[in-house]
């Protein structure tokens, strides 16, 4: 058994896929000798050359549009965008073009593209470099949206994303140094399957991305309160593994949905809607559904304030305990 960092796992997935298929091409700003803004691509250009590693100017809309056009002709681009915030610049090629191409052409053209970008705060980079903008994509038919938390999941899901016939948004958190066990050798993880990161019986916490770790901490604290937490890591947001969520909630009767993006209008709403729309799951609920999400603020530069923005383990603990009124 070996450990890899989140960064290395993502890189390994790219290396394997690039070696397997020369149509797999990494495209982005400073992805060459610099190794990418978060150092996920070092060594790729040395190994695969400029035919498979394409460095672009600062032209987010254009370069993603170029990737879409290249994908239409058979390339399988993996686009790296430095910060998820710049997805605002690439929204047209992704939302209006990549997502719709297969449908608008009645299946004649497809866009097998992966769009990799990191989301989230914690870096002191202030309001324009720290957002969690997954909802730009989750309401768009034709897109798949992945947000893996662990190195092993990131590797397996990225390989599936590269092989997918359509456009896949692959979101990353910025804890690139996080190490964990990654299986040796070739494996993929299917898009659209959640993973139960921790079994439990009293309450379900549903989350994804960086807050998987926060929720895990909360679950450990809750053990002391003798509350058994089942932790569902969505891994893919679209298509959503509703079956796994519902099964867990039917078992526990209680659910807290957690993410770093601000709660209002965030993806938690979709998870909650899936739960309370389903008659059997609705009937099994023993408490209102709760959310613990990022605060309704742009990210402040000040570190003390920035750290208060995302959900803390203690906020999750409090939200869980509030679902057990008798026990308090």
């Amino acid at each position: 058994m070996r450990k890899l960092s989140y960064r290395e796992a993502i890189r390994e997935a790219m290396v394997e896929e690039m070696a397997r298929d020369e149509q797999v091409v990494v495209i982005g700003e400073d992805v060459g000798c610099y190794g990418g803004c978060f150092k996920v691509t070092p060594g790729l250009i040395e190994r695969f050359g400029t035919r498979q590693v394409i460095e672009t100017p600062v032209s987010e809309e254009g370069l993603v549009g170029v990737a879409v056009g290249a994908a239409m002709m058979g390339m399988r681009p993996i686009v790296e965008i430095m910060y998820g915030d710049f997805s605002t610049l690439a929204a047209d090629p992704i939302i209006n073009h990549a997502a719709k191409m297969s449908f608008m052409t009645a299946g004649q053209v497809s866009v097998p593209m992966v769009y990799r970008t990191p989301m989230g705060s914690g870096t002191g980079a202030a309001a324009q470099h720290t957002q969690s903008l997954e909802v730009l994509f989750t309401n768009v038919p034709g897109l798949k949206v992945i947000y893996a938390a662990t190195p092993a999941d990131a590797k397996g899901l990225l390989k599936s994303a590269v092989r997918d016939p359509g456009p896949v948004i692959f979101l990353e958190h910025k804890l690139y140094g996080t190490e964990d066990i990654v299986p040796e050798g070739e494996y993929t993880i299917p898009i659209g399957q959640a993973d139960i990161k921790r079994q439990g019986t009293d309450v379900t916490i549903v989350t994804y991305g960086k807050t998987v770790f926060t929720a895990f901490e909360a679950a450990q604290i809750l053990e002391d309160d003798e509350v058994s937490v089942e932790l569902v890591d969505l891994r893919t947001l679209r298509p959503l593994d509703t079956a796994t969520i519902l099964a867990s909630v039917r078992k526990t009767g209680r659910v807290v949905v957690v993410h770093e993006a601000p709660g209002f209008g965030g993806f938690a709403g979709e998870v909650i809607a899936q739960i309370v729309e389903d008659p059997a799951t609705f009937a099994a609920l023993r408490a209102p559904v709760a959310r613990v999400c990022g605060k309704e603020l742009p990210t402040p530069f000040n570190k003390t304030l920035e750290m208060q923005l995302p959900p803390s383990p203690h906020a999750i603990v409090d939200a869980v305990l509030a679902l057990f009124p008798s026990a308090v």
Binding site: G62, A70, A106, P167
Partner: protein, 327 residues
């Protein structure tokens, strides 16, 4: 710069322009009589560009068109039937009725379709050229765009990338003086969009877009340059749309006098007169050509109106990417 077409080439080009003109008029009529829905963008007056570009190139060269794409699509060789069927939203249309008049594509004829987001198609074309170059293809991509589109940032970004990477893109600007209601004189900060080539180290030229012999020759020269130098080229064609921007356009933003002046530069008339004076065509033959093309068109339209086969919703769902979203 212009070349003089021989009789055969002249007839072929004239037929294509006439077909395009009649096609547009047919579409206009079908819209007026509510046989068609949605909106449409006619290219009446711009036939010399529409017909003059693709026939001057290798059939395996690709095009990426715009919202004003009927003529480009005809010139690439698509069947009038498959086009009209698309306008009617039928399952035998070019995109089985899912795309409509702004999204004609025909892969068999190397037409990759168009973006209805003005200017965005230029990036797609640039990306296609990137992949062609990577795969050592001998072909190029034509990126059509208008004077209005020339002000979109993505066109700038695309031209810069095409230049630094030496991509086989023919940036084909159809400068028809207007972007919807706005006149290029007030919206485009330079009198000739060809000048923008300087900003990217891209060779460029500006030609009379109403003279098909000029357009044809310029496109061939541009293609030769692209192949020889391994660089993109920017060709501006100056023309005018006689029609309104889209259906219901009252054309309040320009004078009837301006339209009258331009109508004297009707591209069909220019080639027809030239062929007549060269002894390649009689007025008779021209009339016959029109009548023939019209008859074919009417037949197809009539036939399509009768047998309307449309996709079901289930069939439509099947064109989503595998696993993409639930219902």
């Amino acid at each position: 710069m212009a070349i003089a077409f021989d009789r055969d080439r002249g007839m072929a080009m004239l037929s294509l322009m006439v077909r395009s003109r009649l096609f547009e008029q047919k579409v206009e009529a079908l819209f007026s009589s509510h046989e068609m829905h949605g909106t449409t963008h006619l290219a009446i007056g711009q036939e010399a560009v529409h017909a003059g570009v693709s026939p001057a190139l290798d059939p395996n060269d690709w095009i990426v068109t715009t919202h004003r794409c009927h003529g480009h699509t005809l010139a690439k060789g698509s069947s009038v039937e498959a086009m009209l069927a698309e306008f009617f939203g039928l399952s035998n249309g070019l995109a089985k009725g899912l795309g409509g008049s702004m999204h004609l594509l025909d892969l068999e004829h190397h037409n990759a379709g168009s973006s209805a987001v003005v200017g965005s198609g230029v990036a797609l074309a640039t990306g296609m050229a990137l992949q062609l170059k990577r795969m050592d293809s001998p072909n190029l991509v034509v990126a059509f765009f208008g004077d209005g589109a020339s002000n979109r940032g993505v066109v700038h970004e695309s031209m810069n990338m095409a230049s630094i990477w030496g991509l086989p893109v023919l940036f084909l600007c159809e400068h028809n003086l207007y972007g919807m209601s706005s006149c290029a004189d007030e919206m485009v900060s330079v009198d000739s969009i060809a000048k923008r080539g300087v900003a990217y180290g891209i060779e460029s030229s500006s030609v009379d877009g109403n003279d098909i012999e000029v357009v044809y020759a310029a496109v061939q020269d541009a293609a030769a340059y692209i192949h020889k130098e391994g660089k993109p080229y920017l060709l501006e064609t100056k023309t005018y749309r006689f029609s309104g921007h889209s259906k219901n356009d009252q054309r309040v933003y320009r004078t009837r006098e301006e339209e009258r002046v331009w109508s004297q530069k009707d591209p069909i008339k220019i080639l027809r007169d030239r062929m007549v004076s060269r002894g390649h065509l009689t007025e008779e033959e021209f009339k016959r050509l029109e009548v023939q093309e019209q008859a074919v068109l009417d037949d197809i339209a009539e036939h399509l109106i009768k047998q309307r086969h449309e996709l079901t919703l289930d069939e439509a769902y099947s064109y989503m990417y595998a696993d993409g979203g639930s219902r």
